[in-house]
């Protein structure tokens, strides 16, 4: 059975052009970039070329780009590093309730260390309210960390506004752009972003490589101590092949961004229209300021994991913020934060598409989802007479 991959927010295939660029660094060009002899110069140059590509994607200077081992490391480094380096100035940080766990759990960890964290509410579409952000700021606020785009419901936060608010008050602003980088335009200067996290595997590079952009002059402690790699800020022998891959993926993302956004948004909108024909189904997240590829729903009286498993009988790979799919007992904190009660949040379905999806695949998804939902509702004790028991 042919796979229809509609889970690009979970991870993406390494683009063939990206793998092609990586290949030498997985084979004959294995020199350690720190080594002195000419044999290793190609590795070193390749890492620096990748750094330039990343800088180009987000409008940064090459000297502000640091490679890490994953998006999670970038988030941990940014938040802990800034907290520890600026802890004398103040112990208060601000984030939102819909951040990724890499941010939330890091904040919770810092709370145990004596930091004080404000978790901003979001509205029904997942946006924080800039006025509430301003109200939350205190004299001892040292960091604002608000994600660029949400991984479950696609909400693109008002980053420029947040950046302006932070800059005017000289508070550091970090954004987890793992879902946004390469998919929507980012300009760290125009948006007043001080730190920004990227993860390779969300834009056609491999899993296990990330970037932290750190604006020049930002005070930050290291998370990884050791050798003098990454200009002394992040120790550890560079993952040359993955870094090269991420660089190439960034270059491609920049070169094709407008085209991809147009194509992906059109498919996404058709997908949303199709799925919303199912009764008792709602779009989660906004219709505007939404990630181009992300279509997310709650479908009542069916459970998310069961939907995923049934969809895979059609070859469709999708995702869910249901409790069962996450192995926890509570459904997604994001769906709860935007106001869904538990019993509805359990019916979460996320379809995330990329430019390599086809219109035909979208058609097949639009056909399959209603069939799956029907089958599950037919066996659901909370689906009665064509509506949910609670309707």
């Amino acid at each position: 059975m042919k796979i229809i991959y509609a889970d690009h927010a979970a991870t993406t295939r390494v683009k063939p052009e990206v793998l092609e660029k990586m290949r030498p660094y997985l084979t004959e060009e294995y020199g350690n970039p720190s080594s002195l002899y000419g044999f290793s110069y190609n590795s070193k140059r390749a890492v620096e070329q990748a750094r330039e590509n990343i800088a180009g994607l987000i409008g940064a200077d090459v000297k502000e780009v640091y490679f890490t081992g994953c998006g999670t490391e970038s988030d941990n480094w940014a938040i802990k590093g800034a907290a520890w380096a600026n802890g004398k100035k103040g112990k208060h940080m601000i984030t939102s309730k819909t951040e990724h766990h890499a941010v939330l759990h890091t904040c919770q960890y810092l709370e145990k260390q004596g930091f004080d964290v404000t978790y901003l509410d979001v509205d029904k579409d997942g946006f924080i309210n800039p006025d509430e952000l301003i109200k939350a700021i205190r004299p001892d606020t040292i960091l604002i960390t608000i994600m660029f785009a949400n991984n479950e419901i696609g909400t693109i936060m008002p980053i420029s506004e947040i950046g302006r608010i932070a800059r005017e008050r000289s508070i550091l602003f970090h954004t987890d752009a793992v879902q946004a980088a390469g998919h929507v335009p980012i300009d760290v200067n125009a948006m007043n972003i001080d730190m920004l996290s990227i993860s390779g595997h969300k834009l056609g590079a491999p899993k296990g490589v990330g970037v932290l952009y750190i604006r020049k002059g930002v005070k930050i402690e290291s998370l990884m101590h050791g050798g003098g790699h990454e200009r002394g800020k992040r120790a550890g022998t560079e993952n040359v092949p993955h870094i090269v891959g991420l660089g190439e993926a960034a270059r491609l993302a920049k070169a094709y961004m407008d085209e991809n956004i147009k194509k992906v948004t059109a498919m996404r909108d058709r997908l949303i229209d199709g799925i919303l024909k199912i009764p008792y189904t709602r779009l989660t997240g906004p219709t505007e300021n939404r990630l181009p590829g992300l279509a997310s729903f709650v479908i009542e009286a069916v459970e998310g994991e069961a939907m995923l498993l049934k969809l895979f009988e059609y070859g469709i790979c999708a995702s869910s913020g249901s409790a069962c799919s996450s192995g926890s007992l509570d459904p997604s904190h994001v769906l709860l934060a935007i106001g869904y009660p538990h019993h509805i949040a359990h019916g979460s379905l996320r379809l995330s598409i990329g430019e390599e999806n086809t219109d035909e695949e979208i058609d097949r998804i639009i056909e399959a989802v209603p069939e799956v939902v029907k089958k599950l509702r037919d066996m659901s004790p909370v689906w009665e007479n064509g509506k949910p028991a609670w309707a």
């Binding site: 459970e303 069962c324 066996m379 659901s380 909370v382």
Partner: protein, 141 residues
Amino acid sequence: MYSDKVMDHFKNPRNIGELEDYNAVGTVGNPKCGDIMKIYMKIEDNIIKDISFKTFGCGAAVATSSMATEMVKGKTIEEALALTNKAVAEALDGLPPAKLHCSVLAEEAIKTAIADYYKKQGIDPKPIIGCNADCAHCCEH
């Protein structure tokens, strides 16, 4: 990752739907937790002649419902009451740790249906079944 057996019972659930002529029914779980199992039984001469279920829940919830109904079909009430969640999980070649509560739910659903049967007969199920068979507390598992 589910075993092949779990996937088989999820894809082709046995005994699904609502029995036409059931004389016992039990529901456990609640929508807040995302797991509800409803079991219908036709009990005659102390024997579970027929059984069916409806389940709202994850893959394991569906598969454990299906397997549990298979395991007690045609059995005596006593045999059915002796069904443990462990036996259900084992019959499915195991469940991921996070999903073990589904097998507990299946065990309880059987017991609740039988309790309903006793109640309808005017018999207090509590001494027999060991609980008041009003299990809507899946979240605590």
